[in-house]
Each structure stands twice: as C-alpha cells, then as structure tokens.
Symmetry: C2
Subunit: 115 residues, 2 copies
DNA sequence: AATAAACTTAGCCAAATGGCAAACTATGGG
DNA sequence: CCCATAGTTTGCCATTTGGCTAAGTTTATT
C-alpha cells in the first residue's frame, strides 16, 4: 500500500465532477472530438478543455490531433486502481467481520462452559 | 442515469484526498475516537475534524458522542454508488466492444463474399 | 486568397479547499 | 473544586478549482 498515492487522488478527483463524468460517459461509447464532447455539457470550449486536461492527467482519456480536430478516447484500464482500492477496503472490512465472528463465538463458548 | 448526482460527486470528492483515505482505512478496521483517527495523519485536530465532516457528508462515516469522546465508524454501504457507477461504465464499454466485434464480422463477411 | 472551423492560450474572477493558531466548551478523575 | 482530556468554533491565509471573455493559431473549404 503506497503512502503517497497520487494516482488514486488524481483519479478520484477527476471523477468527482459531474461534467467530467458526463464527458467520460460519452467517451465510453466511443472516441469523439472536443466539440462533440463539449456539446452536452453546455459549457464553453476553454472550460471543457480544462476538464479534459484533468481527465488526461488521471489517465482516463488520451487525445491526439488529426488535422485540426483533436480526437479523445476513453482509457478503461485507468479505472483499475480504483477497483483495486475498493477490493482492498472490502477485504479489510471482511477481515473485521471475521474477527467479530470469532469474538461472538468466544462469548458463546464462555456462556456454555461457564466459570 | 440521474443528471444531477450529488451522491457520486460527494463520494468521489471525499475519496480524492489521501488524508481522508488514510482515516477511512483506519476506520475500516473498526470504530475510533477523533484523536486516534488524527494521530497517523500528522495534522492538527481542526484540520482532521474538517476532513471528518467531508467523510460524513459523503455518508462514508457516522459519528456519535459518548461522554466527551466522539466515536467514528465506517459505513461500507456508502461505497455502493461508486461500485454501481463502475459497473455501469464497464457495461457501456462492453457493449461498445460487442458492436466493434459485429463490425469486424461484417468486414470479414464482405471480404469472403466479395462484390 | 479569404473565410470558416476547431481548437488553444492568456488572463480574470468568485468560490471552495486545506492548512493553521487561538480561544472556547464540555466531561471525567482526583 | 480543580485540572487535564477531548473536542469544537472562529477566524486567518495561500492555493486550487471552475467558470468566463477575448484574442490568438492552425487547418480545411471555397
């Protein structure tokens, strides 16, 4: 478990904005140029471009320029660290439940055995 | 798919900070008072309390006061929306791969059939 | 050559975030 | 009653975020 985990922070931060999630949802259906990506957001291009750069910084999107249009694509593998983190938390939680289980067992045993 | 999704935004925002993830990691192992929660972060109490309130706002943590100590507890079900969102994205992505598959099939068929 | 299209850059602004110190409010123990 | 413990509240600060307009820049298209 890395103490400094810029990946996860960037990832969660990128996903914490509804506009960026909207853009990502569009890209999950296939690549798109910036203008098409901007349309459903209702925001101006500079704003959308900054959101895009946040998504790129998180590794969720790659872009490349073909002529005068920049094509953006979703990078699903960037979600892996988040998935891993989720699993990790679940593992800790499960372990805790197991310990609780053991504890309850102990209590029951004490009850039946009696002092 | 809700257009306004404050839940997800609050959730991702709460998780986007390493200090908050550290606190949450501690709580996944079991409830703890604020001071114990603060210790590993290296930050002062007011700072930790504000992080705590962000976690509470996201529903990830509940707290209650018993005497002069506030006990904090992890609420794992708060992670569900995030899990659901992940699955949703995966579904969209998978559907896209299927369509791509169909497309490739079509191309292959055209090749063999010839014009 | 001139115009339109598709970004891109620069700079401005208000609000939110993340840190702190200092002062205040319980509550539990001696 | 007194004092330490455990929070809590208040205000301060620098930085980041998320929006904009206005003014470039680079490719098509006509």
């Amino acid at each position: 478990m890395a103490k400094h985990d810029p990946d996860l922070s960037l990832l969660f931060h990128a996903l914490s904005d509804p506009t960026r999630r909207l853009m990502l949802g569009r890209l999950a259906r296939g690549p798109a140029p910036v203008t098409e990506l901007a349309a459903p957001t209702g925001f101006k291009l500079p704003t959308v471009l900054r959101h895009l750069s946040v998504l790129e910084a998180a590794g969720l999107v790659t872009t490349q320029k073909d002529g005068r249009v920049r094509s953006c694509a979703f990078m699903p593998q960037a979600l892996q660290p988040m998935h891993d983190w989720l699993e990790e938390q679940r593992a800790i939680w499960d372990a805790r439940l197991d310990r609780l289980d053991d504890y309850v067992m102990t209590l029951m045993k004490e009850q039946t055995d009696g002092p």
